[in-house]
């Protein structure tokens, strides 16, 4: 229930902000003492809203600000926050094994606090809410293809066997089916040509 309440709260905040500014608004709260707080959420699909616990894979997920300046972790509901962030344009990266996230550009404005923008740097898509979703799942291993007879046949050794089979069993058949006269003709030709030499194979040998 706490989760629900919080999200509605954020939605309310969002609504207020949206009504104030037409641009993208995010849960960025100004703070006395120079810094701002960036709040966001990481959403991993396939993980239902059942409640407690991110998927095991995302247990070690980290959120990184500006390439390591600040590192934070995800709460059970996927929320994260960075505190004491100065005004400016920042970069947020999500590191979760098994998923590829696009880094997110977040602008924290100093002049009018609350006015902020976020965009995925990979796709240049603007975000109306700082909800980060993976671009894709990452599969680190090749999938081993199940055994089939074709893979053996296709392998060099398989091809060799196949070739042998063709030569041994089909060639005699071919010769048998040939017209005896044609065979005689071919044999005669062979005799006329004499011993086949490499020269005959060379281009232009026919001329000589």
């Amino acid at each position: 229930m706490a989760v629900l309440q919080r999200s509605t709260l954020i939605l309310l905040q969002l609504f207020c902000l949206l009504s104030l500014f037409t641009s993208y608004s995010l849960a960025i709260a100004p703070k006395n003492g120079g810094g701002y707080t960036i709040n966001g959420r990481v959403k991993i699909p396939g993980y239902g809203a059942k409640g407690f616990g991110l998927p095991v894979k995302a247990n070690n997920a980290k959120v990184i600000l500006n390439g390591g300046e600040q590192v934070t972790f995800l709460k059970p509901d996927g929320y994260f926050s960075f505190h004491n962030v100065p005004a400016g344009t920042h970069l947020i990266e999500v590191d979760a094994m098994g998923y590829l996230f696009s880094p997110v550009r977040v602008d924290v404005s100093a002049r009018n606090p609350g006015k902020v923008q976020a965009a995925l740097t990979e796709t240049r898509r603007g975000l109306s809410e700082l909800v980060l979703e993976p671009l894709r799942e990452e599969q680190y291993y090749e999938i081993r293809e199940p055994f089939n007879i074709m893979s053996i046949v296709k392998s060099p050794m398989g091809l060799m066997i196949g070739f042998m089979v063709v030569v041994v069993f089909l060639m005699p058949k071919l010769v048998e089916n040939m017209d005896p006269e044609e065979i005689r003709k071919a044999q005669e030709e062979m005799r006329n040509q004499g011993v086949p030499s490499i020269a005959n194979l060379m281009p232009g040998a026919a001329r000589s």
Binding site: V85, L91, M97, E122, Y140, Y141, M171
Partner: protein, 985 residues
């Protein structure tokens, strides 16, 4: 005729099959652990909290100097879970709350986090904004009742905070900064509604406060003045007594609060501890009624009686390490002492009520390579006879972590390996000839059996049991972990130097520690206090002259942290780990230069450059000096002064008057970067041992380009000073990144290029004739990678055949930095998704195999990226000829193919470096990535074209041959029969 055609088709087909493009590093899941290994570490333990009560899995939660928090299995020392916090988010305190949350206070007390104890999931996080920086204190009520929400008290930023332990919400906050108080201690008496805070103002007034637990109001405030001032901290002795040391460190002050008044009582340390007592410190020990004072001669346990009298109970040697107090059941407290004996440690546990005798005394054999005990944490358990048993977790000088119980080491962790400074490799000994026949027969049988099993596996005939067996055979292959040199150069020793000053040799086959040695030269001594390791170099690589010698490595360290402090050096046998030589030269070391010369015993010549720019030659032998004198005209080095923005090049001038092996440097050139516009942020040079196969590069249309291959090329990246901060601190207009390629012999800038609107951090790698660097583009707000390739134009005319025949070519002119060749550069930039922690490149024995970049990403993974993707000759529409050459069409971003992560599903937490070593087999390179974790694997950037893969199925080959032989016989018989029939006809 058709026969002939088919004969010709067949090889073509086979070639085609071999050329089917697949990602070269892709692994199948069952190949994990086959040629790679991964080890997880945590670093030197700073603090430990046990969780053993009512828990099925007994564990200990630790925080370390590598900024890791981890939960370890107390039975075996395995890691249940672990988190590496950010580098600016140093953990100050840890504790366990409600019996289910691990509480960490980090970032100087401004961030409080709770982690779920069983799985390490972060439960809540709260920011505690303070007003003034102060020390940070964490008090978690020792409450065994899980349901009761008792707040956690944190003093940080000069404010006292109470935080709900269930959801991390701030309950109340009391600001002490307005009172001008610096709070030293927080005490929460059990079953009390007040928190005691003790502090000082201006170091001369003691203040005690009582703060209501529920409201945060200050209920009571007492003060007393003490003109002597306070050194260090005020420590509690009991609930109403505190002890402090005055500013002169000679007087102990007992502060007692009675009836709302503060009494001070002063005692001279020398009255209690006779003899000289300098460097007095009160040790925080949390013993009730007793405090410990450490001086330069001893550690004394001093009891405070009810009347406030001080009474020395015992004095022990100051080498003794004392643990914090541990509360036992009946209000009893225990603590442990560890004394270091000769290759033994003596552990004794004492009860506070009965200090005179040891409750428990154990002696444990300890490897002297672990050094002294640095820290001890104790925990008790109830034995079957209802008496208390104790287990002790000790942290050693080499950063290893051991659990002692009942006089034995239950487990040990080599956590020194989490802080590697430098890596090198050493060859293993050559295999002795003479193998027994029985062994060969046995191994042959095993080999055949393995392959038959494998064949069954491929044909899908194997049962699940057999599948398990197959996997086991693959992983356990005895070949790979042998202690001898192999033909392919896969088996080697990785010699690593750690922060603790310990040298480890890891076997590349399975990652086990072959030997480890705590270097005497890198241990604190009178000559050399607080030494740190700097560099590891190969010292002696026996090839032909000195084959009987073992290879050895040179370790260079520094005594103290300043650049001008003295050097510590060791030469260590790489096969046994023995320190062959141990030197403490008087000069300092700023730079270690490996010279490409060896003496008759194959010792590598090294130059150590000191802070006064003198070069010291090692080894210190007349022979080495002679070789160096002969070659000194060709010895150059450079220095980078990052602060001043100056590069300087040096050569050897004369001998200096210190000794035979010392040489004065002569400044040859300087490059000064204007400090108002350029600040050096990265310099990278080529690896000294890199091999380049050919200078020529054949491009499309049978044209040739000559690579500018120089060992003396330095890549320097500078940014405008405004943009030298982190991302987000500068606008694109202020940020300019400039990259330079400098020749370090002449100081000539070969190439300079600027990236407007870009900033660091810059990570770069220089190899052959190219440099690839990674930086941040502020305009696009994305990371970019750029490549610069540099070509020698002066050799371009050599393409003319006529000139070659006539002999008017310049191929025979020597390559020299002084010849000022015409160079031509090509460059291109691409977007790259991730931040980068380290970048490296594969290296092979002869440099023929194509190269892959190894990029350590922000997610602590290592990505292999084919160099073809960062080729400046890529274009949007490559011509047919270029396509044939293998040039890829230009894309704006570099692809990230998940299968090409060399670390596959592993992470190298806290990644700091990637080292590549060529194997003897040209196609293969060995990769070692280190950080908090270690990862090793073997890569073949162009696939293993020179050997069969280990997966090659010999059984299938045998089967094919057998089938062919059978086929021959069958056909022979058939044809015989047919002939016979023909004859009968």
């Amino acid at each position: 005729m058709p026969k002939m055609k088919m004969m010709m088709i067949l090889p073509v087909l086979m070639l085609l099959l071999l050329l089917v493009p697949t990602p070269s590093f892709s692994l199948f899941e069952d190949q994990v652990g086959f040629m790679d290994w991964h080890q997880r570490y945590i670093g030197k333990v700073k603090d430990a909290v046990f969780h053993t009560q009512k828990a099925a899995r007994k564990r200990v939660v630790v925080s370390t100097h590598e900024n890791v928090i981890a939960s370890l299995d107390l039975r075996r020392g395995d890691i249940f879970w672990r988190h590496v916090l950010g580098p600016n988010d140093v953990v100050d305190n840890i504790d366990i709350a409600l019996g289910k949350y691990v509480i960490t206070l980090s970032s100087e007390g401004s961030i409080l986090r709770a982690w779920n104890l069983p799985d390490g999931q972060m439960v809540w996080e709260s920011l505690l904004p303070g007003t003034k920086s102060s020390k940070s204190l964490l008090v978690v009520p020792a409450n065994l009742k899980v349901d009761l929400d008792s707040p956690i008290f944190v003093y940080s930023g000069s404010c006292l905070h109470a935080i709900s332990s269930i959801d991390g919400e701030l309950l109340w906050k009391t600001d002490f900064a307005t009172h001008g108080i610096d709070v030293h201690q927080l005490i929460l008496p059990s079953a009390s509604a007040v928190v005691h805070a003790v502090g000082v103002t201006d170091l001369s007034h003691f203040h005690t406060y009582e703060v209501g637990v529920m409201s945060g109001e200050i209920l009571k405030h007492t003060t007393a003045s003490f003109p002597g001032g306070v050194y260090g901290e005020i420590l509690p002795v009991s609930n109403d007594r505190f002890v402090a040391l005055d500013a002169s460190r000679s007087v102990l002050v007992i502060i007692s609060i009675q009836n709302g008044k503060t009494h001070l009582q002063q005692t001279h340390v020398s009255d209690l501890i006779h003899g000289s007592s300098r460097d007095t410190v009160i040790l925080p020990s949390k013993l009730s009624g007793i405090f410990t004072v450490s001086t330069d001669t001893c550690i004394a346990f001093i009891k405070v009686t009810d009347e406030g009298k001080l009474h020395v109970m015992e004095k022990v040697d100051n080498k003794v390490v004392v643990s914090d107090a541990l509360s036992l059941s009946e209000g009893e407290q225990a603590f442990a002492l560890v004394q270091h004996g000769d290759s033994k440690i003596h552990l004794s546990v004492r009860l506070v009520h009965d200090m005179s005798s040891n409750h428990l005394k154990e002696t444990v054999e300890m490897d002297h390579n672990r050094g002294f005990v640095h820290k001890i944490f104790i925990n008790s358990y109830v034995r079957t006879d209802r008496s208390n048993g104790f287990r002790a977790l000790i942290v050693m000088e080499d950063h290893s972590l051991l659990l002692l119980q009942q006089g034995e080491i239950v487990w040990s962790r080599e956590d020194g390996l989490a802080s590697i400074i430098d890596v090198t490799t050493a060859e293993l000994p050559v295999e002795k000839i003479g193998v027994s026949v029985a062994k060969v027969e046995h191994s042959l049988f095993e080999w055949l059996k393995g392959h038959v099993l494998k064949l069954k596996g491929t044909l899908m005939l194997a049962t699940p049991d057999e599948l398990v067996e197959i996997q086991k055979i693959r992983l356990r292959s005895s070949e790979k972990s042998k202690m001898t040199r192999d033909h392919n150069g896969f088996r080697r020793l990785l010699v690593v130097l750690t922060k603790a000053g310990k040298l480890f040799a890891l076997h590349t086959g399975d990652g086990r520690v072959v030997w480890s040695s705590l270097l005497q030269s890198l241990r604190s001594s009178e000559q050399c206090s607080q030494p740190t390791g700097l560099k590891l170099h190969q010292w002696q690589i026996p090839h032909h002259h000195a084959l009987d010698n073992n290879p050895s490595v040179l370790v260079v360290g520094r005594c103290g942290s300043s650049l001008s402090s003295a050097t510590a050096m060791s030469i260590v046998d790489a096969h046994t780990g023995k320190e062959v030589q141990n030197m403490v030269p008087t000069h300092s070391t700023v730079q270690v230069i490996y010279l490409p010369f060896t003496d008759s015993t194959e010792q590598q010549l090294h130059l150590l450059i000191d802070a006064d720019n003198r070069a010291h030659l090692y080894p210190k032998t007349p022979e080495a000096a002679e070789i160096f004198q002969r070659e000194s005209a060709n010895v150059y080095w450079y220095s980078v002064e990052t602060e001043a923005g100056i590069l300087r090049g040096y050569g050897v001038k004369t001998k200096c008057n210190l000794d035979e092996y010392c040489f004065e440097a002569r400044n040859l050139w300087s490059v000064v970067f204007p400090s108002e516009s350029e600040k050096i942020i990265a310099t990278v040079t080529r690896k000294a041992n890199e091999v380049v196969h050919t200078q020529a590069k054949v491009i499309a249309d049978e044209d040739v380009m000559y690579k500018y291959v120089s060992k003396n090329m330095l890549f320097v990246a500078t940014v405008s000073p405004k943009a030298s901060g982190p991302i987000g601190s500068a606008t694109p207009d202020e940020a300019v990144l400039a990259v330079h390629l400098v020749d370090t012999v002449t100081g000539r800038i070969l190439h300079r290029m600027t990236h407007l609107g870009s900033q660091g951090p810059v990570h770069a790698v220089l190899s052959e004739n190219w440099v690839v660097y990674h930086y941040f583009n502020l305009r696009a707000h994305r990371y970019e990678m750029s490549v610069i390739e540099i070509y020698d134009q002066s050799r371009a005319e050599n393409k003319d055949v006529l000139k070659l025949i006539v002999g008017k070519h310049n191929l025979t002119t020597p390559v020299s930095s002084y010849s000022r060749p015409e160079v031509m550069t090509k460059s291109q930039s691409y977007f790259f998704t991730h931040s980068v922690k380290a970048i490296s490149v594969t290296s092979t024995a002869k440099g023929i195999t194509s190269k892959h970049l190894l990029i350590g990403t922000v997610g602590d993974q290592v990505l292999a990226l084919d160099k073809r993707f960062v080729d400046p000759r890529r274009s949007l529409n490559p011509t047919q000829a270029e396509k044939e050459e293998g040039l890829l069409p230009l894309t704006d971003a570099l692809p990230i193919i998940p299968q090409s992560y060399v670390t596959h599903a592993f992470k190298v937490e806290g990644l700091r470096g990637i080292e590549t070593v060529p194997a003897k087999l040209e196609s293969t390179t060995l990769v070692f990535a280190y950080g908090v974790d270690l990862f090793y694997t073997r890569l073949a950037p162009s696939r293993t074209y020179d050997s069969l893969t280990e997966d090659f199925n010999y059984a299938l080959l045998l089967l094919t041959i057998v089938a062919l032989v059978v086929a021959i016989f069958v056909t022979w018989v058939l044809s015989e029969r047919k002939d016979l029939q023909d004859k009968w006809r």
